[in-house]
């Protein structure tokens, strides 16, 4: 066996092993502890799990590419809320009154455009000022959230369009609409990162920015494109979720950035950039949702769920570190 193969395998497969472990644990524990008499591994329950994963999952795909690129985006939660407001509010604007249900695609596009614009702003600042993305998006996280509150004060923004609700609640081939979006985004981003020049360059920039510059790669535009993509995906996530719910509170999407980063890191993407996998991020998203659902299934409350996920995240990173150290030792031989 090649040196490092075992640890590489463990690293790549770790998240899926973790998911299997969760499934076994909750199935068994559910037999004794569950408040309901339904089995945990029920098909409907699993389909629901994918649907519920979608809002975090869609953004996590964007976060993966931003982090591979060597940046981070903390403003996604606020972007999500702002795009949700644009989506719901624009459907009530008088200028679109004559459109009937054709207002739906118009509002969707408006929401997505808002997300792209907010992301572009982040990207542009990071590119042109050279300030660390962590600081820039920390600022924009506060700023964008400020815009959310300016829009409607503490009041929720609501609009229910039943055609939209029907669409959002539909099931095609058994999977819910949000699940399809999550899968679609995953595939698209996978292609972007693995099959396109942009993806290749994004990895190179994250891994060694100086070498990338010396290879003639224009670092700034690539970073900006990635921020626009994550902005767009935060908006898409809002579109998918609020098409169904129809009401957005100004606090919605708070802490989303942290859940998203948790999922991405759990999937093995490095905070330092240059390494990461879209498929593993998908695993990370599913693992977190599984944990939330599973703990609820055996009767734990939300605070316990947060505590457990926090502990698991640290444990996983510790394990990852151990594996990496071991891998390096083996390579030196």
């Amino acid at each position: 066996m090649q040196p490092g193969t075992l640890s590489t395998f463990l690293k790549r497969g770790a998240i899926w092993g973790f998911i299997v472990l969760e499934l076994i644990f909750f199935t068994v524990a559910g037999e004794f502890l569950s408040v309901s008499d339904k089995a945990f591994m029920d098909v409907d329950n699993m389909l629901l799990l994918f649907k519920q994963s979608a809002p975090i999952g869609i953004i996590a795909m964007g976060m993966t590419i931003v982090m591979i690129n060597g940046n981070i985006d903390l403003s996604v939660g606020a972007t999500y809320a702002l795009c949700a407001i644009v989506l719901l509010d624009s459907m009530t604007w008088p200028m679109f009154a004559g459109l009937g249900d054709w207002v739906i695609p118009v509002s969707w596009l408006l929401a997505l455009a808002t997300g792209v614009a907010l992301g572009a702003l982040n990207g542009l600042i990071v590119w042109k000022t050279g300030v660390d993305a962590f600081i820039v998006t920390l600022g924009s996280m506060l700023g964008y959230r400020g815009l959310v509150f300016m829009y409607n004060g503490e009041q929720p923004t609501s609009h229910l369009n039943w055609t939209l609700v029907d669409f959002a609640e539909a099931q095609f081939l058994g999977l819910h609409t949000p699940t399809w979006f999550l899968l679609g985004v995953t595939v698209a981003i996978w292609f972007l990162m693995n099959r396109t020049v942009h993806g290749r360059n994004a990895y190179a920039i994250g891994n060694n920015r100086e070498a990338a510059v010396n290879a003639g790669i224009r670092v700034g535009p690539h970073m900006m494109i990635n921020f626009m993509i994550i902005g767009c995906l935060a908006a898409l996530s809002a579109v998918v979720f609020y098409s169904e719910s129809g009401s957005v509170n100004p606090n919605d999407g708070e802490l989303y950035e942290l859940w998203v980063i948790t999922a991405v890191v759990l999937g093995g993407t490095k905070l330092t950039g240059g390494a990461g996998s879209i498929i593993s991020t998908f695993g990370g998203v599913v693992a977190i949702q599984l944990l939330r659902k599973g703990l609820a299934h055996i009767g734990a409350d939300t605070s316990t769920v947060n505590l457990v996920i926090g502990l698991i995240l640290i444990a996983v990173l510790f394990l990852d570190r151990q594996l990496n150290v071991k891998g390096k030792e083996e390579l030196k031989v």
Binding site: T196, G199, A204, N208, A212, N214, I217, E330, V333
Partner: protein, 503 residues
């Protein structure tokens, strides 16, 4: 000479890793007051031997003996406590702290309540610094020191214990010639105090300048020890690689083509001034000078990493402005940078992706990367440059230095550059691969490439260049043809001893 006991003796050290016998019965003894060179190609086992000595690895067989006492090294701190001190190639200093704090890091003298005794710290530090005859004091911030002086701080740190043996690992890698001289004086002082010194270096001239005996490792096996006075470069090289290395003067001559690059009156602030030269196709121009003479900065300007403050650059007779590496690459200027790991390679990517990095965009098929075309390019240049790797999927970080350098060179050759600039082509590369890289550069010139080689190693410059540009303190002092250059006049030119000749 009276019978002396070695300060440090290794007996039949064996260390195996899965699949590799890294050290195979290595024996070595270092006498008090001698400078003992340890040589060998990269991968010969020098680093492993040092790690065994420092207690990072435990030997499978054999003994470490300090002054006739067999010892077990538990780790670097234990080694230091036993009087074996390492001066590593990479510095491990805290830039923001003072010299004194760095030297006594972890062992700061204390007063009551655990407060630091600054007065004593300063006195002790200055005592050591005086012995080293350095030009800075205990309170200087380490970040403000030159690399050479930072190394002195490392050495000072080593001298806080009663060192029996000091092991220098490639200490001169980033030093200028003047700084080297100071280092060698310090080594001579240590030697006079009866300290045993092990000196690891690839640089022959240093080895012959300062060492008393030379021990050679090859493929983990001890090849023998010779008195430095009884051998020469060829002899040592022969022991290291089992064959002879050709480092003669470049005497190949072929027809030169048209002028590919012309630089007129180029200046960049204080870094270099009024630099003019031309480079023809089929020609290798070597830039030689001390570190800080402005050679790398000229390369960086040509590659678009620095904007010049004055002067013009002409490519094929046409004036160009280059503001970024992107511009430079579009115009066919390529740079193999000084520090290939930091500036040239994406270590976390595979060999193929590294080689095609600048041209993925040109190769793409529709919106997607063209895997097949990229593999074809990789295969072509792997064969052409004889890059030894199991396959294109191998991470470039796992290759040896020589093969990594060939990947960087291949990266640019595959784009058929008009001008290829190679900064320190063989830094940190073992002797065997060095010769290959030198031959490669000569071959490229014969094929009609215009090549600039920047090097701090005189034999290298003499060996590969058709013409040599000697720089001193940001200025071109003189340009030599390979017929007129001698080691003496070259050294005179780069030390500023010779004033600029009339052009």
């Amino acid at each position: 000479m009276t019978e002396q006991i070695p300060v440090l003796r290794l007996e039949g050290i064996v260390k195996t890793f899965p699949g590799v016998r890294a050290l195979d019965g290595v024996s070595l003894s270092i006498m008090p007051g001698e400078v003992h060179a340890l040589m060998g190609e990269n991968g010969a086992g020098k680093s492993t031997l040092m790690k065994v000595l420092g207690g990072i690895h435990q030997p499978d067989e054999g003994r470490i003996i300090i002054e006739e006492q067999p010892v077990v090294m538990a780790g670097p701190l234990d080694a230091k406590a036993k009087g074996i001190v390492f001066i590593h190639q990479e510095l491990s200093l805290a830039d923001e702290l003072s010299v004194a704090e760095n030297i006594y890091l972890g062992e700061l003298p204390r007063k009551r309540f655990g407060l630091v005794d600054w007065a004593e710290l300063e006195a002790k530090t200055n005592g050591i610094l005086e012995k080293l005859k350095v030009g800075f004091d205990a309170k200087t911030r380490v970040g403000d020191l030159s690399i050479a002086n930072q190394q002195m701080v490392e050495i000072a740190r080593a001298l806080t214990v009663d060192a029996k043996a000091v092991i220098f690992d490639e200490p001169t890698a980033s030093l200028t010639d003047a700084e080297k001289t100071v280092l060698f004086e310090v080594i001579a002082d240590l030697k006079a105090q009866g300290v045993g010194i092990a000196y690891i270096s690839h640089r022959m001239e240093e080895i012959f300048r300062i060492t008393d005996r030379i021990s050679v490792l090859r493929d983990g096996q001890y090849q023998g020890t010779v008195n430095t006075g009884d051998t020469d470069e060829e002899g040592v090289t022969h022991m290291m690689i089992g064959r002879k290395l050709d480092l003669s003067r470049n005497e190949s001559h072929h027809e030169l083509g048209n002028v590919a690059l012309e630089v007129r009156g180029l200046s960049c602030g204080d870094l270099y001034r009024d630099v003019s030269f031309e480079l023809r196709r089929g020609e290798v121009v070597g830039f030689y000078g001390l570190v800080g003479a402005g050679r790398t900065e000229i390369a960086e300007t040509l590659f678009g990493l620095r904007d010049p403050s004055a002067g013009t650059i002409l490519l094929d007779g046409e004036e160009v402005r280059i503001h970024s590496p992107h511009d430079a690459i579009e115009r066919g200027i390529s740079l193999v940078p000084e520090d290939r790991k930091a500036q040239g390679l994406v270590l976390g990517m595979n060999c193929r992706d590294n080689m095609t990095l600048p041209q993925v965009d040109d190769l793409k098929a529709g919106p997607f990367v063209a895997d097949g075309a990229e593999i074809a390019i990789f295969d072509q240049y792997r064969d052409k440059l004889d890059i030894r790797t199991p396959g294109w999927k191998q991470l470039v970080g796992n290759l040896s230095g020589g093969n990594q350098q060939k990947i960087v060179i291949g990266k640019w050759l595959s784009m058929h550059p008009n001008v290829l600039i190679v900064d320190e082509p063989t830094r940190g590369i073992d002797v065997g691969s060095k010769a290959e890289i030198h031959n490669l550069i000569r071959d490229l010139a014969a094929q009609g490439y215009a090549v600039i080689v920047i090097s701090s190693e005189m034999p290298e410059v003499l060996h590969v260049s058709d013409r040599i540009v000697a720089m001193y303190s940001g200025r071109i002092m003189r340009t030599f043809t390979s017929e007129e250059v001698t080691e003496e006049n070259l050294i005179a030119a780069i030390s500023g001893l010779e004033t600029q000749k009339v052009a």
